[in-house]
């Protein structure tokens, strides 16, 4: 294992994992508070459609994924206050984007790394991927820090926030757009099928043990970091897929936190 740490590809994988953990851990705080687990999953699946369509027409796959994820995020935010509920909107857009992706892939003549797309391929992260991930993480963290107060207020009391002067519609859209960005840039780390778990598990695991927001936010980021780095090391130690190992480590932490949280309340 020590030998692995000296390989540049593994060092890049660790750096990418840490950045993705920072990004998803911080966002997970809001995903859990706003109960957006299903929305995160929907946006991730929409990205699949975008990646497939972009591949078909020769555009950069991640750019296609980003456009699709943002379109679904925007449409979901707009669904609020209409006769279509948020989860119905996500449900419809998700399957439509997946279906579009499958149709598009049927016409693609080149070899597409479907397995890598679905389950991630963190060990093949290139320096350019790392740069994109670093830039996206910095941008998302800056946006979260700049709008933290209104985001938090709107997440725990939408009417109270609106009366206080918060543009709650804009805050809803901001969170969904940031989720869209996180999903697309973290695809390389855990893949489409698992990226939504990285947006839910850290906050959900920290929740039973943290009653106030500073502990919840720090705990969420810490759980994400331990899951990603621990999962990556585990994947090398027992030779399993890194994406799956990351999510399994996160799930174990979640279950332990749940048990500890219950025993503390007794």
């Amino acid at each position: 294992m020590i030998e692995f740490l000296s390989y540049p590809f593994f060092q890049r994988a660790l750096a990418a994992g840490a950045l993705a953990a920072l990004l998803c851990g911080a966002l997970s705080f809001f995903v859990v508070l706003r109960r957006l687990a299903f929305v995160g999953s929907g946006v991730a699946h929409a990205a699949f459609g975008g990646v497939a369509v972009a591949t078909l027409f020769g555009f950069p796959p991640l750019a296609g994924g980003l456009v699709a994820a943002l379109l679904v995020a925007g449409a979901t935010a707009r669904a609020q206050g209409t006769s279509v509920s948020e989860d119905s909107a996500v449900g419809v857009f998700t399957v439509a984007a997946m279906a579009l992706g499958v149709v598009a892939l049927g016409f693609v003549k080149t070899n597409v790394d479907l397995f890598g797309l679905m389950f991630g391929n963190i060990l093949t992260v290139a320096p350019a991927d790392l740069l994109v991930l670093g830039f996206a993480t910095a941008a998302v963290l800056l946006a979260l820090a700049a709008f933290f107060r209104p985001l938090l207020l709107a997440s725990v009391d939408e009417e109270g926030a609106e009366v206080a002067g918060v543009n709650t519609g804009a805050m809803r859209l901001l969170v969904l757009v940031l989720v869209g960005v996180a999903v697309v840039v973290a695809l390389k780390v855990v893949g489409i099928l698992l990226v939504s778990a990285l947006l839910v598990l850290p906050g959900a695991a920290a929740r039973p043990l943290a009653a106030r927001w500073p502990a919840l936010l720090a705990g969420s980021i810490a759980v994400a970091l331990v899951s990603v780095v621990g999962g990556l090391l585990l994947s090398v130690a027992v030779d399993v897929a890194p994406g799956a190992a990351i999510i399994l480590v996160g799930t174990v932490i979640f279950v332990v936190a749940l048990v500890l949280g219950r025993s503390r309340r007794r």
Partner: protein, 220 residues
């Protein structure tokens, strides 16, 4: 600053159901105004228009300072019977009130807002040891006091109470009445929706709302 409000020909429909029809009336500055009437008559609709959460289909709402000076919608303190505050919100009472006082972009609460929040929580009768506790761990009565503190924090010129008295216990109701009296004495305008116009210790103006808004005589 005392702020008054004028509704000018305001009509609102929710779906196809007209809730408020061509309502024109004035809420006097620096006084207590009560809205009474049956459920579904449009009282809460008036509150939501005042707060800026609901836009009228027709007509307009004008806020004014003094007798004639039109102003933008001022900061409004608001307390309702049913709050949308999440039961497990991970904020302390001080955080919730301070963040509501400075809700614009930023990360940490500012120290002025925190001091103002503590003062409001003390006025609302929340013990000091409960002020740092996450609101999700407070009792129902204590949570209502936190929301009351949020409504009065920062001395908003207009205080709106939507059947707030029905969610309070006897001690909480006494606190609310005392605070309303103090706010009006300080020149602030208090609007409340109620089934009992005497709930806040008597109103200076009473409007009956049932699709239309009609001013009722006030007993001397």
């Amino acid at each position: 600053m005392s702020v008054g409000v004028r509704f000018e020909g305001v009509s609102v429909s929710l779906g196809s159901r007209p809730v408020l029809k061509n309502a024109s009336f004035g809420i006097p500055a620096g006084e207590r105004t009560a809205f009474v009437g049956p459920n579904g008559g449009g009282k809460t609709t008036i509150v939501r228009i005042l707060l800026g959460i609901l836009r009228p289909d027709r007509g307009r709402v004008v806020f004014f300072e003094g007798e004639v000076n039109e102003i933008f919608r001022p900061r409004i303190g608001y307390l309702s019977q049913r709050s949308t505050l999440a039961f497990d919100a991970p904020l302390s009472a001080v955080d919730l009130v301070a963040f509501s006082l400075s809700p614009k972009a930023g990360f940490r609460r500012n120290s002025d807002a925190a001091a103002e929040a503590r003062a409001a929580l003390a006025r609302a009768g929340l013990p000091e040891e409960a002020q740092a506790v996450p609101v999700g761990l407070l009792s129902g009565g204590q949570r209502q006091r936190v929301l009351l503190a949020r409504a009065i924090a920062g001395s908003p010129p207009l205080l709106v109470l939507d059947e707030a008295d029905t969610a309070l216990d006897t001690a909480g109701l006494a606190t609310l009445r005392r605070l309303v009296t103090e706010e009006v004495a300080a020149g602030r305008t208090v609007v409340y929706v109620t089934h009992d116009s005497d709930a806040m210790g008597g109103a200076d103006a009473v409007f009956r709302v049932d699709g239309v808004v009609v001013e009722e005589p006030v007993d001397a």
